[in-house]
C-alpha cells in the first residue's frame, strides 16, 4: 500500500566540516585557535546521523520521501555535503560564509537551521550530538527550543512510525539507557553507538556529483551568524612528564604509597 502524502517523512541532516579525527591538532602561534591547515572531514557524529537517515530509508522504504543535508561553512564545506550525498542523501544545501569569517556558534547555527526549516518541509532532524572541534554539544537542543519541537538527544537507537507520526528513541544516559516516545516533528541527536557508518561506494560517489546542491547565504535566511563569544586565548595542555620504571611489584606499591595512593 502506498503511503499517503501526509505520512511521508522528510528528513534533514545538518553536517559540519571539522578537522579530521585522526589529525594531531596544534595550537597556532597566535594562540587564537588551532592550526586549520590540516585534513578536514565530516564530523563523525554527523556521519552517524547521515547513515541513520539512509538506514531509516532502508527500513521504511517509500515512507521516507527525502533526505536533505545542510551545512554552514566556507566554500570547502561543499566537500562534506558531497560526502553525505555519496552516502545516500538526496540533495544538499550549503549556507556559505566567507573563508575568513569566524566559525558560527551553536546559537547562530540553530537559528539558521530554524529559518531553513521554515522554508523546507521537515518532519525529522537527525544531527550529531556534538562536533569534535568545539565540543559545544548545544546546537540540537537549541534548535528544538527555537522550533518548540520535542528533542531526543544522545540516541543509540531510533525507530520511527510514519503512520503514527511518532518515534521511539533509546537514549544513552548516565548508568544505562532510557527509552522515550516522541511525536514528530522531532530533533534527534546521535550518539556513537547508533550505527556504524558505511564507506561511500565508488558508484555512489559518482552519482553524488549529479545530485542537487543549493547555495544560500546567511542573508538569504536573514540570520546573523556573528559570534557572541570572544576567544581570549587557546593553549596546549601541559606536556606530559615521563614516568619512572620500577623493578617489581613491591617497589610499585611503595611508590604508590609515597604518592599518597592507598588501598581503600
Amino acid at each position: 500500500m502506498r503511503p499517503t502524502s501526509a505520512r511521508l517523512l522528510n528528513i534533514l541532516v545538518p553536517v559540519k566540516r571539522a578537522v579530521d579525527y585522526a589529525v594531531k591538532i596544534r595550537v597556532n602561534p597566535q594562540q587564537t585557535g588551532v592550526d586549520l591547515n590540516v585534513k578536514h572531514s565530516m564530523n563523525p557524529f554527523d556521519e552517524i546521523a547521515v547513515e541513520e537517515a539512509v538506514q531509516l530509508r532502508k527500513r521504511l522504504k517509500d515512507a521516507v520521501q527525502s533526505i536533505k543535508v545542510v551545512t554552514i561553512g566556507p566554500p570547502k564545506a561543499s566537500e562534506t555535503l558531497r560526502t553525505a550525498l555519496a552516502m545516500g542523501a538526496d540533495s544538499a544545501i550549503h549556507i556559505e560564509i566567507p573563508e575568513a569569517d569566524p566559525a558560527p556558534e551553536p546559537l547562530g547555527v540553530a537559528r539558521a537551521l530554524a529559518k531553513l526549516i521554515e522554508r523546507e518541509k521537515v518532519d525529522l532532524v537527525i544531527m550529531g550530538k556534538q562536533a569534535i572541534d568545539d565540543d559545544a554539544g548545544q546546537t540540537g537542543q537549541m534548535l528544538a527550543g527555537l522550533l518548540d519541537w520535542p528533542q531526543a538527544t544522545f540516541a543509540s537507537k531510533l525507530d520511527v512510525d510514519p503512520e503514527a507520526k511518532s518515534a521511539t528513541v533509546l537514549r544513552e544516559v548516565d548508568g544505562g539507557s532510557e527509552e522515550i516516545k516522541c511525536r514528530l516533528p522531532l530533533v534527534v541527536t546521535t550518539d556513537l553507538r547508533l550505527n556504524e557508518p558505511h564507506y561511500a561506494t565508488l558508484p555512489n560517489i559518482m552519482k553524488a556529483k549529479k545530485k542537487p546542491l543549493e547555495k544560500l547565504t546567511p542573508a538569504d535566511l536573514s540570520v546573523d551568524l556573528t559570534p557572541r563569544l570572544e576567544t581570549i586565548k587557546v593553549t596546549e595542555p601541559p606536556a606530559r612528564i615521563g614516568g619512572g620504571k620500577v623493578a617489581n611489584v613491591d617497589e610499585l606499591v611503595a611508590k604508590l604509597k609515597e604518592a599518597g595512593f592507598t588501598a581503600a
Binding site: 572531514s41 558531497r82 555519496a86 564507506y199 561506494t201 565508488l202 558508484p203 559518482m206
Partner: protein, 400 residues
C-alpha cells in the same frame, strides 16, 4: 607528503575515498600477510564491496566509467596506504586485465564475467609472460589448438600473479604457428578462460620471491587443457593487437603504484628522522639525512608529473586523434621508468635513514624496499625502456 595541487576534483575524491577503505588495513596487516605469505583476501573484498574494482570499466557493464587518470590515482593510493605493491597487485589485474575483455569481448562474455569481477566474487589473472618469452611477446609458445568446439591449450606461463586465487585467466596463446603467419604480430589470440584446478591438464606452482609475498606469483602449466571455443575474446589471431592497447595503460597504473610506495617510504623516513634523537638532536637535523630525503621527494614529484601527464594523454587519446601513438608510448614508458627509479631511491633512503631499525620488519621500510624492485623490472625492465627511448626518440640504431 605529496603535493596535491593540480589534480582534478574526481582524482582527489578517488584519493580520499580509497584511502578511507585502506585505513582499515594497517601496516601490521600487511606485515603479517607478507610474512605468512597469505592472500590479502579481506582487502580485495573490501575494495570490491565499495565498488572500486569497476573504476575503469564502462558504466553499462556495472563499472564507473572513469579513466586511467583516476585508476592510476586509485592504485597509487593503495600502495601509499602502506599496502605497497602487495596491496596493489592483489587487485591490479582485476582493474587492468578486464579492459580488453570489456572492449573486445562479446555480450555473453562481458555480461557473465565483468559483474562477478566487479563484485569481487571472481578474481582474474593475466596470463601472458612465458619463461622463454618475457618482453619478446611475439615469440610466445603456449599453443591453443582448435579441436571442434574446443581449444586445447599446451604450454607454460610464468610470473602469473594471483593464479592461486583467480577464477578466470586472460590468456594470450598462439593459435597459428609462427612460421605460418602473414605478419609477425598475428597468430596470437586472447582467451578468457576458467582456471579449473580439478580438470586435467592444468597445474600451477607458487614461486618463492623477494617481495610482495602476500600475493602469489606462479608458474602455470597447461597440458592439453580444454577450453570452450567461445572463450576466445575478439578475433582469432588478433590477440597481440588487443593486449597492446592496454599496455600503455598498465605502464601508468604501475607508475602510480611505484609513486605510492615511494611516498609511503619517504613519509616514514621523514617521521623517523624527526623523532629519532642521537647526540641530543633529531637525526633529521643533519643534512646528511635531510638532503637525500629532500632529493628523493623532488624525484618523486617529477615522476608524479610524468605519470599523470601520461595518464591524461592516455585518456585524451581516445577522443583527441592529434595525440599520436608515438607520444603516448613515449610518455607512458618514460613515466613508468621515472616513477620506478624515484620509488626505489625513496625506499632505499628510507631504509638507510632508519639505520639498523630499517632492517627490522616492524618498521615497514624493508618490506617497501623489497617491493620497490618490482616496478623497476615489471611489466617492462628499465633497460628495455632505455632501448625504446634510444630508438624512438633519439633515433639511434636498435641494439637487439
Amino acid at each position: 607528503m605529496m603535493d596535491i595541487t593540480g589534480f582534478t576534483e574526481t582524482q582527489l575524491d578517488v584519493r580520499s575515498a580509497v584511502a578511507q577503505v585502506c585505513s582499515d588495513f594497517p601496516n601490521t596487516y600487511w606485515q603479517e600477510h607478507d610474512q605468512a605469505q597469505t592472500d590479502p583476501k579481506e582487502f580485495h573484498a573490501a575494495l570490491a564491496k565499495a565498488g572500486w574494482l569497476g573504476i575503469a570499466l564502462p558504466e553499462h557493464l556495472g563499472g564507473s566509467g572513469l579513466g586511467i587518470s583516476e585508476a592510476t590515482m586509485m592504485m597509487q593510493t593503495i600502495s601509499e596506504s602502506g599496502a605497497g605493491m602487495a596491496g596493489a597487485q592483489s587487485v591490479h589485474a582485476n582493474v587492468y586485465a578486464t579492459q580488453p575483455l570489456a572492449r573486445f569481448g562479446n555480450e555473453s562474455q562481458t555480461e557473465t564475467v565483468l559483474p562477478k569481477v566487479i563484485s569481487g566474487e571472481w578474481r582474474v589473472c593475466f596470463g601472458v609472460t612465458e619463461p622463454n618469452a618475457g618482453l619478446d611477446t611475439l615469440s610466445l609458445k603456449t599453443f591453443a589448438r582448435k579441436d571442434g568446439d574446443v581449444y586445447r591449450v599446451t604450454g607454460q606461463k610464468i610470473w602469473i600473479t594471483c593464479a592461486q586465487v583467480a577464477k578466470k585467466m586472460m590468456l594470450l596463446a598462439r593459435t597459428t604457428p609462427v612460421d605460418q603467419v602473414k605478419k609477425p604480430s598475428e597468430g596470437l589470440s586472447l582467451f578468457c578462460i576458467d582456471l579449473d584446478r580439478e580438470r586435467p591438464g592444468l597445474d600451477m606452482r607458487k614461486i618463492k620471491k623477494m617481495g610482495g609475498r602476500a600475493v602469489d606469483a606462479n608458474e602455470v602449466f597447461f597440458d592439453n587443457y580444454e577450453i570452450p571455443a567461445d572463450s576466445l575474446v575478439g578475433e582469432e589471431s588478433k590477440g597481440f593487437k588487443i593486449i597492446l592497447h592496454g599496455m600503455n595503460a598498465e605502464r601508468c597504473l604501475l607508475a602510480g603504484e611505484a609513486l605510492g610506495l615511494g611516498y609511503a617510504a619517504l613519509k616514514r623516513a621523514a617521521e623517523y628522522a624527526k623523532e629519532r634523537v642521537v647526540f641530543q638532536r633529531p637525526i633529521g637535523m643533519n643534512q646528511g639525512i635531510s638532503h637525500p630525503l629532500a632529493d628523493a621527494w623532488m624525484k618523486l614529484e617529477g615522476a608524479k608529473f610524468a605519470t599523470y601527464h601520461a595518464a591524461r594523454l592516455f585518456d585524451a587519446s581516445k577522443k583527441d586523434k592529434s595525440i599520436s601513438a608515438h607520444s603516448l608510448g613515449v610518455a607512458c614508458n618514460a613515466a613508468k621508468y621515472m616513477a620506478a627509479e624515484a620509488a626505489f631511491t625513496a625506499a632505499e633512503r628510507a631504509v638507510l635513514t632508519h639505520g639498523g631499525m630499517g632492517y627490522a620488519a616492524e618498521y615497514d621500510v624493508e618490506r617497501w624496499f623489497r617491493e620497490s624492485l618490482v616496478p623497476r623490472i615489471a611489466p617492462v625492465s628499465r633497460e628495455m625502456i632505455l632501448n625504446y627511448i634510444s630508438e624512438k626518440v633519439l633515433e639511434l640504431p636498435r641494439s637487439y
